[in-house]
């Protein structure tokens, strides 16, 4: 980093709260540092939710742009990442809802379920490769594939729980539903994933 940013000579990275304050004052370089710091997490989140690289990239962009716009309203009372994460989640959720309204059949719950009926195979039968690494890769692909086949609501619940580690209450708040619904969705999603991954090793190396 050039001498323009204090972080270059500091042994310690600037704190989020300092970068946020500078950003609120209009310092685009400070905001750029925040983008670098959190882009991988935000991108991972949008990607897991919509399973499309290009769209996820765009939505991650949108999230940061919206965050920049909303900075004057951020009161520094919560962690910056939590606040950013909510914005990213809303952006993705709005996008998913719009897709559903526009009648993009891909996200039709019924169709998704039909594709994931019990007994249907999602992967070619039998393994020729005894190599463990390759099996792991296979498993990774199958998991991604299985996640993609869940309906958005079920996928969201699983991603928020397993990857972001949110509590049921937090999930309920994010998804604007009851605790009971959160639990039903989590249970259902896990059962479905189990079915879809039945033929593979479930124990990661």
């Amino acid at each position: 980093m050039s001498a323009a940013a204090p972080a270059a000579t500091d042994p310690v990275e600037p704190l989020d709260v300092d970068l946020v304050k500078r950003s609120q004052a209009g310092d685009t370089r400070a905001f750029d540092l925040l983008v670098t710091r959190y882009r991988s997490r935000i991108y991972a989140m949008t990607y897991h939710l919509i399973q499309n690289e290009t769209e996820a990239w765009d939505l991650a962009q949108e999230a940061f742009i919206k965050a920049w716009r909303a900075l004057p309203n951020f009161k520094l009372d919560a962690a910056f990442y939590t606040w950013l994460y909510r914005i990213a989640h809303n952006v993705t959720y709005d996008w998913l809802r719009k897709k559903k309204i526009q009648g993009d059949g891909e996200f039709d719950d019924e169709r998704t379920e039909h594709r994931a009926m019990p007994g249907s195979r999602t992967a070619p039968q039998g393994f020729d490769a005894p190599d463990r690494a390759m099996k792991r890769q296979e498993l990774g692909c199958r998991i991604q594939d299985a996640i993609a086949r869940l309906s958005p609501d079920h996928r969201q619940a699983i991603v928020l729980r397993e990857i972001e580690g949110l509590s049921y209450e937090e999930i309920a708040e994010m998804m604007k539903c009851s605790l009971g619904t959160v639990m039903s969705r989590l249970f259902y999603a896990r059962k479905k994933l189990q079915e879809m991954l039945k033929d593979t090793y479930e124990n990661p190396v």
Binding site: D32, H48, Q61, I65, W68, I147, F187, N203
Partner: protein, 214 residues
């Protein structure tokens, strides 16, 4: 009597650590006496582990530098648009007030001032946009390019971090190039100073690298 749905919820609540200590004790006792349930719980736990392993919380952003620079570009454009909006609002407010409050002569003067502001807005609007950098590539992986826009400095900035410093003892010579002549056929460019003397000739060597001959 627990409904099947309650039982299912118990299972995942236990799995996800959402039970109270008492509830946990009760459930674990049930598990001990129900091998089928225990098997299902284990299977779900393994699934959870798999998901955590294969759905990473962080994923490298494709074209990460471009991701950042695009954000900067859009922020710059937003700031520019907002500034224009403010100017427009200020101009229209000024003329509105002048119409209402001032006697007609002073009002005419105020209206003229408003027009002057509007004129300023017009020239700003007609001036071109912000320079942008769409993408960067640094052949040396140790060098990292960073792009951002500074509305303060009214410039677009390209930072190159990780460059080898120039040795202190090296003398940096500046050219004041008055005129340049390019010969496309031989792919050379001759640089002249204001007296017509040749400062340097830029040509390409066998590898296509530029060489400066003075």
């Amino acid at each position: 009597m627990k409904t099947p749905s309650d039982e299912n919820h118990d299972l995942i609540r236990w799995l996800d650590g959402e039970m109270t200590a008492d509830e946990r004790r009760t459930f674990e006792a049930t598990l001990q006496n129900d091998p089928e349930l225990a098997a299902e719980a284990e299977s779900m736990r393994q699934l959870s582990e798999s998901l955590k392993t294969h759905l990473p919380a962080e994923m490298p952003v494709p074209h990460a530098d471009f991701f950042n620079s695009q954000i900067q570009v859009r922020i710059a454009q937003m700031d520019l648009d907002e500034a224009r909006e403010r100017e427009k609002a200020a101009a229209s407010t000024a003329s509105w007030f002048s119409w209402l409050r001032m006697p007609w002569l002073a009002g005419a003067a105020a209206a003229a001032a408003a027009f002057a502001i509007a004129g300023l807005v017009w020239t700003q609007n007609s001036s071109s946009g912000t320079s942008t950098i769409a993408s960067t590539y640094t052949p040396n992986p140790a060098v990292h390019a960073q792009v951002f826009h500074s509305s303060d400095a009214q410039a677009t900035v390209l930072m190159l971090d990780g460059l080898e410093p120039v040795p202190a003892e090296k003398k940096i010579v500046g050219f004041r190039v008055h005129r340049a002549e390019s010969d496309a056929e031989v792919a050379t460019t001759t640089l002249f100073d204001e007296n017509g003397s040749i400062i340097a000739v830029v040509s390409k060597d066998a590898k296509g690298q530029p060489t400066l001959l003075q």
